[in-house]
Symmetry: C2
Subunit: 456 residues, 2 copies
């Protein structure tokens, strides 16, 4: 191979520092998932194609990575499609497996397949990569991790309360204070659609309303009318154009606005329960806000809808989202299994924490000290100490070769190893170690106990 | 979908308990890798096909999972191969990417691609899944994890010494005492081949010799002669038929046996350095043993060869292996980059630990206590305590619904949650909690501090 090797577009190699930082975030998410009673599961990277196909719409089907059958796959290929060179139709006859596209459909498949072993309500979390044949662009990759926590088998709104707390706890632990957890409810949106008399215009309505800050009330109304929403209908939801105040004030506004819609009022009650209890229990660093323009996942969410915005100082889209869906497992034949879940956007959280310089300095994959190698006798003396230090949990290493000392120090420097340990005849004779702080340049002669204390 | 969904053969779902146990093993491997100065990297799940193809032999090429190109892949397919229905030849024109088959080739690709950013010697570890289209059978899967630690850029034999210590440390930490770390050296095997005058018969020779315990000296010799090894040649290595004693005794035997072979003697010197230093530094629970029949990875190993056998009470193949290879990155155009590494067999280690009942009881993904839900007022009181307990790092949860109490206790029981917390009017009035030990049945009334202490 003549040219330098490369990796497929949209994929990434992670260096030691990047892995350490990602693991730091994942570890915090994971430990909080567990504190909240969620249990981990893992599913295979690839599923049978019929488990995935048709679950994400036509666009989704196109973006699923298909795995070619092994062996003589053309032997079993559909001849007509092969002859017509119809790629789309041929695929199912030469590919039976596909890489998972998200963690939600595999989770639904897991719940249905293992329903007799699972004790419901089932609180599961899953942190695994997913793959999408999307056009790669800044911040969008073909392989990326999803971090999901879901509960299935209970309609209790206490779950929503806890998921808001979970977001607050994770971001607080990450030092990422000031995030906004936006909440809405699918039933509120249905109520609005009912009141404006145009269910099919709901997306147009919320998209336009979301521009209030940018283009003002007149601009928003103009856009709504252009989209074919009736002027009188718009008047009926006039309060939404001045939708400010505390959450309870907003809920009261919605309550009077949607009084004619049973479903809307159900949404108001749900919001009230969730927001009241979150307020009474209190959040640590996040703010809960009611955002009636929040319409993500409109097709499958049936109750609460969540989205998390980073602190306002950072220009970045949502770093988490989720909601309540009443029929997750219906696609696999198990009815009446309500679920609610949230997801953390690992890559974006990484970028936000990096930008705000919030990674602790201790997040590093490097060693605490490098023992300089002056030859086999010295190396053996070093190894005796290294063995004991490692047994105490301290990351230390020996430079493997008896190379030039300057080169060895340069190695420590380039790897940001903070200490060097120097061992010569003098140290061996006096059963001691010269410990050099590579940041300050200070060098001291110490016995083993002091060495250990300094490196702990 | 009418029938119950399933997963592709050779793949696995992991339940919460299985994930917790796997994570327990991985965490111990990972933390010891880091103590020994290894740094994590991660590479993409799929590589460009030309990175992988041709690196594992013809059989390997066949077992690599190929990913179908997106979009109109038949448009760019080779017409002749398509017409001839030649699956093997067509593949490269409809598939540009493939799932990684091991971690070694992607690591070599990583080192070459990032050679200007890497500070050598580079000690990396990598714990990621790999995929092989092998025929699934007991203990062999199509998706499984590899856990590899390698050093590249140094020929120092101190690395081999440390890798033996690393095996010892990991298995000791896992409580898996009594493993045997077998060591051999490619140069010893070359020396033997030289002495018996039959390099091409080396595998036949070691395979036969390995049966000494089973079929006795005469049986082994008979097999060797049947394989075409000269009787006089066999006589020259007669000491190998009584190859017992301490490692140093074995090394002395080899030293006189291979004195005519320069390469063999080089192997003896390497073995002596490694084994002497390992002995002088001492192992905790593992035993190092010299096994001249050990010939794994004969094609690519150039120095030390390692293999780890589980304790003799367990009938199971090797649970780890590795060795020194002098030209890992040559396939991608970077010469003279010697490397040495070891691997841990996660699935087999799991089975051994399970069989010997060595998983600590604390390895579980379940909560410490379930708060019984008697209605919203009681649930709110519970949530106040739950919030504070979680802030102290304690895993607790509220049963989300106000279901029948018996059902809630059954839920705790089925999930092996050890405590239940019961809250009624009496508890709320007296600012206390009834804590029930679900193992002993004992129930006590406690204040919050005592509750916390009991669940810590």
């Amino acid at each position: 191979m003549a040219s330098k090797p490369s990796i497929p577009k949209g994929t990434r190699d992670f260096s030691p520092t990047e892995v350490a930082k990602r693991q730091y975030i994942i570890q915090i998410i994971k430990s909080n998932f567990e504190k909240f009673g969620f249990q981990p599961i893992e599913t295979p990277s690839f599923e049978n194609s019929d488990t995935l196909m048709g679950k994400y719409g036509e666009e989704g089907d196109r973006l699923i990575f298909k795995i070619l059958n092994s062996g003589d796959y053309l032997g079993k290929a559909n001849s007509a499609h092969l002859e017509n060179k119809d790629s789309t139709k041929l695929t199912s006859s030469i590919s039976e497996k596909a890489l998972r596209y998200d963690l939600t459909v595999p989770f639904a498949r897991y719940v249905v397949q293992h329903q007799n072993e699972i004790e419901f309500p089932f609180k599961r979390y899953q942190i695994q990569p997913v793959w999408r044949a999307d056009r790669p662009q800044k911040g969008r990759f073909r392989e990326f991790f999803q971090c999901d926590a879901d509960v299935v088998g209970s309609k209790s709104l206490w779950q929503e309360v806890e998921l808001v707390q979970l977001y607050d706890t994770v971001f607080t632990t990450l030092g990422l204070e000031g995030v906004t957890i936006k909440i809405n409810n699918r039933k509120i949106l249905s109520g609005i659609a009912e009141v404006i008399g145009a269910s099919d215009k709901l997306i147009d309505f919320t998209v336009a309303l979301d521009k209030l800050d940018k283009i003002g009330e007149d601009g928003v109304k103009k856009e709504m009318i252009e989209k074919g929403i009736d002027e009188n209908a718009i008047l009926k939801v006039q309060p939404l154009f001045n939708f400010t105040g505390s959450i309870s004030e907003k809920i009261e506004k919605l309550s009077s606005l949607l009084s004619a819609s049973d479903e809307g009022m159900k949404g108001v009650e749900e919001l009230r329960f969730i927001c009241d209890n979150v307020a009474k229990l209190g959040l640590t660093s996040a703010t809960l806000d009611l955002d009636v323009t929040l319409a993500r996942g409109l097709n499958y969410y049936t109750g609460a809808i969540f989205e998390v915005a980073p602190p306002k100082s950072v220009a970045m889209g949502s770093i988490g989202g989720g909601g309540r869906y009443d029929d997750l497992t219906g696609i696999f034949g198990l009815k009446n299994m309500s679920g609610v879940g949230i997801s953390f956007g690992l890559d974006r959280i990484y970028l936000v924490i990096e930008e705000l310089n919030l990674f602790p300095e201790t997040v590093t994959a490097t060693s605490k000290a490098l023992f300089i190698n002056y030859g086999d006798a010295e190396a053996f003396y070093a190894m005796q100490a290294i063995q004991k230090l490692r047994a105490s949990g301290i990351k230390v290493e020996l430079y493997p070769d008896n190379a030039k000392v300057a080169k060895q120090f340069q190695h420590a420097d380039k790897r940001a190893i903070p200490f060097a340990v120097i061992i010569g005849d003098q140290e061996i004779d006096s059963k001691s170690y010269s410990l050099k702080n590579l940041v300050t340049g200070e060098q001291i002669l110490v016995d083993f106990e002091k060495l250990k204390d300094a490196l702990l």
